[in-house]
């Protein structure tokens, strides 16, 4: 004998979430069954809201509920620099570490031919247009420092070349708290090439 229909349906839907198997889904379903009604209502409303109210900012393509987003509206930020990131989650990480400085542009992915993702599938053309239209003097590319991220960075730099804008890349090297002994040769090479003055 199975669970009553609504419980079974909830378990089925919860087990579609990443990292959630049927066992965990069952535990979550029973937690919800035993929770207060207002909590369950609030949870279901917030799930519905992210589908209904969240859209992409028309300037930076970050996820937002108001257009333009709060970052693009913020007049205190440096309007001459755009920081290019892969995903909205990357933007949040940069913003938490270095708040209130940059304006951003979210690509929504990186070039990955293995997955059939080319430049036209990303917001690269929009970035080039944005640089053309506004007085931006520097584009800082903060995609991941892996093969796909680097390939995307070089492609963007290539596209921006005719616009005579300064294109920079986030630095790479030995991480804070890292140990030279355990660092791979490529990272050591990068850190030596990207060395900087102490004062």
């Amino acid at each position: 004998m199975g669970y009553p229909g609504p419980v079974e349906r909830l378990i089925e839907n919860l087990s579609k979430l990443p990292g959630i198997g049927r066992k965990t889904a069952t535990r979550l379903a029973f937690f919800l069954l035993n929770s207060r009604v207002d909590y369950v209502k609030e949870l279901s409303q917030s799930i519905q809201d992210i589908k209904e109210k969240i859209k992409l900012c028309s300037i930076c393509f970050n996820i937002t509920d108001i257009d333009p987003c709060t970052i693009c509206k913020d007049q205190k930020r440096d309007s001459s620099v755009i920081c290019v990131v892969e995903e909205p989650s990357h933007l949040m990480v940069l913003e938490q570490a270095y708040p209130g400085v940059f304006r951003y542009h979210v690509l929504h992915g990186v070039i990955n031919p293995l997955e059939g993702i080319g430049p036209e599938d990303l917001k690269i053309a929009e970035l080039v247009q944005r640089v053309k239209d506004s007085g931006i003097s520097e584009v800082l590319i903060a995609t991941n420092l892996n093969l796909e991220g680097n390939s995307t960075a070089y492609y963007i730099a290539d596209q921006l070349k005719p616009l005579n804008v300064k294109v920079t890349r986030i630095a790479s090297g030995i991480p804070a708290g890292g140990d030279i002994i355990y660092t791979d040769p490529q990272t050591i090479k990068n850190s030596l090439e990207n060395r900087r003055d102490i004062f």
């Binding site: 070039i111 031919p113 059939g116 093969l147 070089y154 490529q186 990272t187």
Partner: protein, 242 residues
């Protein structure tokens, strides 16, 4: 089997859970294997910058014959082809050959010649300019060592030798050229004898006409799609635009 040490090339990487990485590797000795690198996505000590494509690496792994995924213990870079990613076209070609090796081979089928082709593809891409002729030649070489090269020498129906001037009929279904007699009864497409002769001698570097090049890519793409039921995701980035 205990700890195995081998040379390998990363064909594909997938994140698994919070910090692990599953990789498809093409090894010099055992062909394709799939392995899991615990902490491969996070560990800055063991796998940082090693379990990545465009490198020849040395790996140590426990071969898990029963469970499928081998457990990767260590990886070191032997030869690095960094710089290929700076050029979108070269990067696409490199990833295309990774896709070919990944999707046209089965696990643990040794193919040291394909390993060599992958290595020389990376070296050529790093050191020289990429041309459509070069891509086609490397693709035909790969298909040949995999045993999937279409027959451009003899008629695939009656097995008779076809002279260069008469190589005009290509049957995708039969997997090669047809002689004039067999072409009457078999489904085929007609091409210029010049194009099919280039194929039969694998003298693709001599193929200069852009229209022929586009047709050559089309023949191979259709052949792979029909016989191997494989649609390469990266193919659209490397073929000539007609």
């Amino acid at each position: 089997m205990g700890l195995v040490k081998d040379q390998a090339i990363v064909l594909k990487k997938l994140s698994y859970g919070e910090s692990d990485r599953i990789v498809h590797l093409f090894t010099r000795t055992f062909g394709k294997i799939s392995g899991i690198a615990k902490g491969g996505n996070k560990s800055i000590r063991r796998f940082m910058n090693t379990l990545e494509p465009l490198r020849i690496i040395e790996i140590e792994y426990f071969d898990n014959r029963m469970k499928g995924l081998s457990k990767i213990q260590n990886a070191y870079v032997l030869e690095d082809f960094q710089g290929i990613e700076k050029d979108f076209r070269k990067f696409s070609v490199a990833t295309f050959f990774m896709e070919v090796a990944d999707r046209l081979t089965k696990e643990k089928e040794p193919n040291p010649r394909l390993f060599q082709i992958l290595c020389s593809t990376y070296r050529e891409l790093k050191n020289t300019e990429v041309t459509f002729q070069k891509i086609l030649r490397l693709l035909l070489d790969s298909l040949e060592v995999l045993g999937f090269l279409p027959n451009f020498k003899t008629c695939v129906h009656c097995n008779r030798e076809v002279s260069n001037g008469n190589k005009r009929f290509f049957s995708n279904q039969k997997g090669g050229i047809l002689c004039e007699t067999c072409a009457r009864t078999n489904l085929h497409k007609t091409y210029s004898p010049e194009l099919l002769t280039f194929f039969s001698h694998l003298e693709i570097s001599e193929l200069k006409d852009e229209g022929y090049l586009a047709l050559a890519f089309e023949i191979i793409e259709n052949f792979i799609r029909y016989h191997l039921d494989v649609e390469f995701k990266s193919f659209k980035f490397i073929k000539p635009v007609p």
